[in-house]
Amino acid sequence: MNRTHVTCMINDDETEFLCDNDESLLDALRDEVGLTGAKEGCGTGDCGACSIILNGQLICACLAFAPEANGGTIETVEGMADGDRLHPLQTSFLEEASLQCGVCTPGFLMAAKALLENNPDPTETEVRYAIAGNLCRCTGYDKIVRAVLGAAAQMRKNPIEGARP
């Protein structure tokens, strides 16, 4: 077998893995690295369940080839909390009951994180469009949108401490 060696930073850990060249970055994260937080809901970029941040950009990991990550930086849901301190979005999702089955939650958290890093004070409409690439079939999005707006307010009020225990 002729596999490619990839070195990258994943959630601040220098990580190496072997992959096939036509393997998706999603499969590599899940099967080669063992990070199963990103989920495959469609495999075609239509549901957002595999959202991760590659080199600072929110992407669907199912649409990237694993070797593209070589030398890059990846953030996944597993790296969102700072040790025991949850990211305000995580806290807000819990408090607002924004997850039902929870399978789409990692993708939503990554999309919302990317949004708030670019736009700390989004309107409801901006939130809705920013997460439109993430499908949720359980919640009707109401509580997800509330959680994102709530976390944004929290982060504006408390930008440094941000995360809470």
Partner: protein, 289 residues
């Protein structure tokens, strides 16, 4: 399958020549689903995102140059581009989700050659040109000469698109793009329409370009609509002619995304709306950027 990420256009060209079953890609947002749907896997995948020239937006000497692999999320927010070509910015911002826009590119959107591609109508009404590289060097052709049918392009198998060139629009000129989808996001255009208008000081239209997407095998210009606009004020009468002409130019099919009757009718509606939007912008706009 091999994966390579060349750093220069020349390197990419020689890679492309080295393997007949090779494929260049930028975002792979269409390529991956196509491969899942049974498209044969190439032997060599050439990732164009490592070539700096292909991943930037620059503006000089009255020309805007957009690297073919630049993510449309950058095209969407580039200040110079937005000011000069708000419609192209709009169409870039309509492709898929934020996740998709961080990968998808103008080059990919063009060369996938989908009749419903959002950026092609905008590129066409702005008379954009593409620089194409091959072992023989580069050549520049109008965007409208690239797509020959659904999924097919005029490029040879050893050629790829390097960049897009757009001339700065004249005074009181603006573009706009609108598309219709059943949802608000995440759909392929059922119909798309782009327009670029130049108005004189009396708000009379002196130049007009109108293009309709997803309503024919390729994006089509609507010359009758353009003629109706040229030399006329934008009033109900002109708009009625634009609607009729835009509908008439369509040769749509019925498929899972819409019926041909629907596409034809809504093409007219979008053409009218997009002309109004472009005219509004042209009025608000002074001279060239």
């Amino acid at each position: 399958m091999r994966y390579v990420r060349p750093g220069t256009v020349d390197e990419a060209v020689s890679l492309l020549n080295s393997e007949p079953e090779s494929c260049v890609f930028a975002g792979a947002t269409d390529l991956v689903p196509q491969m899942q749907g049974g498209r044969p896997e190439p032997k060599l995948m050439i990732d164009l995102k490592g070539i700096p020239r292909l991943v930037k937006v620059s503006y000089s000497n009255g020309q805007l140059v957009v690297g073919a692999a630049t993510p449309v999320s950058i095209v969407k927010v580039d200040d110079n581009l937005k000011a000069a070509f708000p419609g192209l910015s709009e169409s870039s911002g309509l492709i898929g989700s934020d996740q998709i826009q961080n990968r998808a590119s103008l080059g990919g959107n063009l060369c996938t050659a989908s009749p419903g591609a959002d950026t092609i109508p905008s590129l066409m009404v702005n008379s954009a040109r593409v620089v194409i590289a091959s072992s023989g060097g580069t050549r520049t052709i109008p965007v409208s000469d690239v797509v020959t049918g659904p999924g097919s392009v005029s490029l040879k198998s050893n050629e790829f698109v390097v960049e897009f060139i757009l001339d700065a629009p004249p005074k009181r000129t603006a573009d706009a793009y609108l598309r219709f989808i059943p949802r608000t996001e995440m759909d392929i255009a059922v119909v798309g329409a782009a327009a670029r208008l130049t108005l004189d000081d009396a708000d009379c239209c002196t130049e007009a370009l109108v293009a309709i997407g997803a309503a024919a095998p390729t994006v089509v210009r609507a010359p009758v609509a353009e003629n109706a606009l040229r030399g006329n004020p934008i009033n109900d009468e002109t708009l009625a002619e634009v609607m009729a002409a835009a509908s008439a130019v369509c040769s749509p099919i019925s498929d899972k995304r819409g019926t041909k009757e629907y596409r034809r009718q809504v093409a007219g509606v979008l053409a009218k709306r997009v002309v109004l939007q472009a005219a509004k912008r042209a009025k608000e706009k002074g001279g060239a950027v």
